[in-house]
Symmetry: C2
C-alpha cells in the first residue's frame, strides 16, 4: 500500500503535513510518497531529528504550490508542477494507491476529475465528509462539490455514500436519509420529491436501505448513516454543524477556566467533557473521500494538523484496501436514470 501525500496544501503545510505523514508511516506501516518542496520537507524531517529518509518513504520534488485563491478551473494547466497536480499524476499512473491533500478543495475536485477521471457512468464526483453523531459516524454526500444537482446525481450520491459507509465505516446496511425540510415524501422542492421516488424505488428493490427524509436537527442524534444532499444545502448543513461545534467548544472552555471553582468543576466532570469533545472533533475522522473518481482521493480539512493527516491517511488506506471503486463500477447500472 502506497499513499501519496500533497505536502504543500492546507493552513499548516508543509510542517504538520509532513509530521502527519511520519505518524501514519510508523503507525500503519504503509509506504508514503510526500510530494512538495524537497528542500522544505527535508528541513522538517531534520527538525524532527530524522537525518535519513525512513525506509518506505519517498520524497518527490514539486516546484509549485496550489494556493487557496488559485482558480480550480485552470489549476491543472497553470501549475503543472505543483505538489497537488504532481501527486494526482502519480496516482493516475498507478504509482500510488490513494492520495491525501489538505489543499484548495475546488482545485482538488476539478484536477482529480481531469487527471484521475470519473468512473464511467458517474455524472459528478462528490465529497463525502464524515459527521460525528451521538451514535457514531455518519457520512454526508455531497458536502459541497456540486451546487447544482439533479435527481440522478443524488441517486448516485446515495449509492456511493452507502458503499463507502459499508466499506470504510464498517456498517452492514447503512441507513440512507435524504436531507430535507420535512418528513413526508412530498416535502421540499422538486429535486427532493423526485429523488425521494428514486431512492424509494431502489430501496424496494433491496439495493439501498432508504429511511426517508431527514431534517438537519435529526442528524446529530444519529437518524441516518448516509445523508444525501445537493452540494449547496449539504455544505450549509456541514458548516452550521462545524460552527455550532466550535461555539460550544469555546463556551465550554470559557466556562471551566473562569476561576478556581470552575476549574475544580472541570475535574469533576472531565470524562463527560472529553466525550463531548470527541463528538465535536473533526481531527479524529481526518477528511472527506472524493467519491466517483477512478482512484481513492481524500480531502483533508484545510486546518489539518499532523494527527488529522494521519487519520486521513488511514481513510485513504481503507478506501484503497476495500476496493470501493470496484463496487461502484459493479453497480453502475443501478445508478442510472432512464430519461
Amino acid at each position: 500500500m502506497k499513499i501519496l501525500i500533497d505536502a504543500m496544501g492546507g493552513d499548516n503545510a508543509p510542517g504538520e503535513i509532513v509530521k502527519g505523514a511520519l505518524m501514519a508511516h510508523s503507525e500503519f506501516g504503509c509506504d508514503i510518497v510526500i510530494v512538495g518542496s524537497g528542500e522544505r520537507i527535508l528541513q522538517i524531517l531534520h527538525e524532527e531529528g530524522i537525518s535519513e529518509i525512513p525506509k518506505g518513504m519517498e520524497i518527490v520534488n514539486a516546484s509549485q504550490v496550489v494556493e487557496m485563491d488559485d482558480s480550480p478551473a485552470t489549476v491543472t494547466r497553470d501549475k503543472p508542477d505543483s505538489s497537488m497536480i504532481q501527486a494526482l499524476n502519480l496516482l493516475a499512473k498507478g504509482e500510488g494507491d490513494a492520495i491525501v491533500s489538505a489543499g484548495n478543495t475546488g482545485a482538488l475536485l476539478s484536477a482529480s476529475t481531469l487527471i484521475v477521471k470519473r468512473i464511467k457512468g458517474i455524472r459528478r464526483a462528490s465529497l463525502a465528509p464524515i459527521i460525528p453523531t451521538v451514535k457514531g459516524n455518519a457520512l454526508l454526500i455531497d458536502g459541497g462539490a456540486n451546487v447544482d444537482c439533479n435527481p440522478e446525481y443524488l441517486l448516485q450520491f446515495a449509492y456511493m455514500g452507502a458503499f463507502c459507509a459499508k466499506r470504510v465505516l464498517g456498517m452492514e446496511s447503512p441507513r440512507v436519509g435524504l436531507l430535507n425540510i420535512g418528513g413526508e415524501s412530498n416535502k421540499g422542492d422538486e429535486l427532493r420529491v423526485e429523488t425521494y421516488k428514486l431512492l424509494e424505488h431502489e430501496s424496494a428493490g433491496g439495493r439501498l436501505n432508504f429511511v426517508g427524509n431527514i431534517e438537519g436537527r435529526d442528524v446529530v442524534f444519529g437518524a441516518a448513516d448516509v445523508i444525501v444532499a445537493d452540494g449547496f444545502s449539504g455544505n450549509v448543513f456541514l458548516k452550521t454543524l462545524e460552527g455550532m461545534g466550535l461555539f460550544f467548544a469555546d463556551h465550554l472552555k470559557a466556562m471551566f477556566s473562569k476561576n478556581m471553582m470552575s476549574k475544580l468543576a472541570y475535574l469533576a466532570i472531565k470524562p463527560s467533557v472529553l466525550d463531548l469533545k470527541k463528538i465535536l472533533d473533526y481531527n479524529e475522522t481526518g477528511g472527506a473521500p472524493l467519491l466517483g473518481v477512478g482512484r481513492p482521493v481524500v480531502k483533508a480539512h484545510g486546518s489539518s494538523k499532523a494527527y488529522t493527516i494521519r487519520s486521513a491517511v488511514k481513510q485513504a488506506i481503507n478506501l484503497a484496501e476495500t476496493r470501493l471503486v470496484s463496487e461502484i463500477i459493479d453497480n453502475i447500472d443501478f445508478m442510472k436514470v432512464n430519461e
Copy 2:
C-alpha cells in the same frame, strides 16, 4: 393594541396558548382576542382560577381546528370555521392589529396570503425566525416558506429582514449577509451569484448594509444581523442549529446530573451554563414574523409553551406598533428587479 390569538394551534394547545395569552395580557396590557373552542378556553380559565373573562380579553368561538396534517392549499376552504382561519378573517377586517398562531406552518402561510393578502409588489411572503447568537439576536429570512426562489425574492427578503431587524430588534443599520458556501462574490449557485450583485447594488446606493456572503459556521458568532436564504437551505440551516442546540442541552444535562461530584460542579459554574442555555433557547424570542403580508402575522414554534406565546405576543405588538408594513410599502420601488 389588540392581538388575535389562535388558541387551537401547536402541540400544547389550547392549555399553554391560553395561559400565554393571560401572561401577555397582564404583562403588556394589550387587548387580546382568543379564538378557539369557547368551551375549552373557559375551562382553562376556570382551572387557572379565573371565573370571569378579564377586562380587555375576549373569546371568539371557533368550531374547527386546523390539524398538522391538513393540506395548506385547501385549509381556507375546508375549515372556514377553524380558529386559525377565523382569526385571520378578523385580522383582515381590521378587528385586531396582529395575530399569533402556533399551528400548522404551511396552513398559516397560505391562509395568510389568501386572506390577509400580500403587500402589492411583494412576490412571496416569508418567514423570519429569530436566531440567537453570541452577539444577540439575528434574523433569518426565509426560514422555510419558499423552497424555490429567484434573485428578486431574495432581494425582497433582504429588505424586509433589514426593516424588521431595525424596527423589531432595534438595530440601527442591520448587517445583511447572504447565506452561502464561501466568502467570495462568485461562490455558490447562480441564485447566489445573481443575488449577490443585487444586494451589492442596493448597498452601494446606501439602502442596505450588505456585508457579503456568510457561511453557516459564522452565524452563531454574530457575523450578520439578517441572514438571507432561500427557504430550503434556510430551513436546513435553522433545523441544524436547533438540533445542535438540543443536543448540547441534553449533553449538558446528562453531564451535570451524573453523580454527586458533577452536581456540585454544576453549582460552581451555574451562571455560565445558564448563559449558554439562553443562547440555545428558542422560548425567549417567541416566534417568527411572516413578512410581506399586509398585516402582522407571527408564527410561534409548534412546541410553544405559555412563555413562548407571551413572547410571540410581544413580537406581534412590536410589529404592529412600529408599522413595519408601512415601511415595506414605502420602499417597494427599490425591491423590484427590472427584467
